[in-house]
Amino acid sequence: MVTTVERVREVLSTVTDPEIPVITIEDLGILRDVQVDGEHVTVTITPTYSGCPAMDEIRADIRTALADQGVDDVEVKMVLSPAWTTDWMSDSGRDKLRAFGIAPPERRPGGPVLVTLGRRPASPACPQCGSRDTEELTRFASTSCKSLWRCLSCREPFDHFKDH
């Protein structure tokens, strides 16, 4: 079968984040580019955070998914620039996160995220009950990209995918 960008993208739409398996690398916005030159495929990805330990696994998952479909000549490139931002996360990705119990990052106007000194982040809505009456427990949680919050209405703790 002829290898095309569309076909490669279709295969890659099955590759999920190893730490948040409900969301694909495309939803997350870390799949940056796919190029096909004859049989040679170049997939470009970018890390969420500099030290994201999932990158090696994602790289391997991309190779495996493509190899399973007979695409073997694959190069996975990692680029740092432009720096990943949560603005690249798709709406369907945000919905999937919420359904999974993780409050997604907020959609916001363009421009860089400035974390100013002492600023309290805007409260995300609780993914369980939807209440905005939530409080941050710790800025650094189970993965670099998430913080830990608690809902003051339904009392459930939840992860929040940090705006970045």
């Binding site: 955070y49 680029v79 740092l80 400035l114 800025r139 670099s144």
Partner: protein
């Protein structure tokens, strides 16, 4: 792999940045399972991971440009003390939690304007690393600030300890703003950040936080230096031993 033209000056600068990140990341990692709260265990290791991520890209860049073909692992695990070019501040023993937090404040307040400036470095890898790190270090600074204020403006004992930690680490900050021949060259080429432009912002940030924390800015004329030339403190050898012993004891081993 595409070959890259040798540029030992940029390699040396990437190595300084990478060594700073790796050594501080290693010190932060020492808090695993020892922090005063579970949340801080997680937080300090998150910060460590950010530094480690930056270090990996920077060491890889240094190895590409210096003409030796060394990998990030070669540079991290197979160099002896005199070949490391991190600032001494990064390698100091973390001491107690208060001292670790004052070092975090001094470093993050420096790295925020540093990475901002380097986001437009003419070296594309350094610029790429900086573009990511600048977003991360904003979190680091906020974290350090909140703890320094909480401890400084806390109990008599927490105030005493965080002030003592600050007094110990403070003299080492001066080295961050030293200029040498390499920096002169690379500032002119648009590769490196000019420390003279970073220091005013650093000082303002740090002094604001210390004032809020009711801490006293130490007064000292002692300016320990030498890290960029490979002259390190006694404790650095022990840090390297822990960092490197596994790799050196089992050459070529893999998981």
């Amino acid at each position: 792999m595409t070959s890259v033209a040798v540029d030992t000056d940029v390699a040396a600068y990437a190595l300084r940045l990478g060594d700073d990140a790796l050594v501080l990341g290693q010190r932060l990692g020492e808090w695993a399972a020892k922090s005063p709260q579970l949340e801080e265990d997680v937080a300090l290791l998150n910060l460590s991971l950010d530094h480690l991520g930056a270090a990996r890209s920077l060491l890889t860049r240094a190895g590409e440009l210096d003409g030796t073909g060394r990998s990030e692992d070669d540079l991290a695990f197979l160099r002896d003390e005199p070949d490391w070019t991190n600032a001494l501040l990064m390698e100091l023993d973390g001491g107690d939690f208060g001292r670790t937090m004052t070092r975090q404040l001094l470093v993050a307040a420096y790295q925020l304007p540093l990475w901002q400036a380097l986001s437009s470095s003419t070296d594309e890898v350094i610029a790429g690393v900086a573009g990511k790190a600048v977003k991360e270090v904003a979190y680091h600074l906020d974290h350090a600030r909140s703890w320094v204020v909480r401890l400084g403006d806390g109990t008599e004992e927490s105030h005493r300890r965080v002030q003592a930690g600050l007094d110990e680490v403070w003299p080492y900050a001066a080295e961050l703003f030293e200029r040498d021949e390499l920096l002169e060259l690379l500032i002119a080429r648009g590769v490196a950040a000019d420390p003279a432009l970073l220091e005013p912002q650093w000082r303002e940030t740090v002094e604001d936080v210390l004032a809020e924390a009711t801490l006293t800015v130490p007064e000292t004329t002692w300016r320990p230096t030498g890290g960029r030339r490979g002259a390190h403190t006694t404790g650095f050898g022990y840090l390297l031993a822990e960092l490197q012993h596994l790799h050196r004891s089992h050459p070529g081993a893999s998981w």
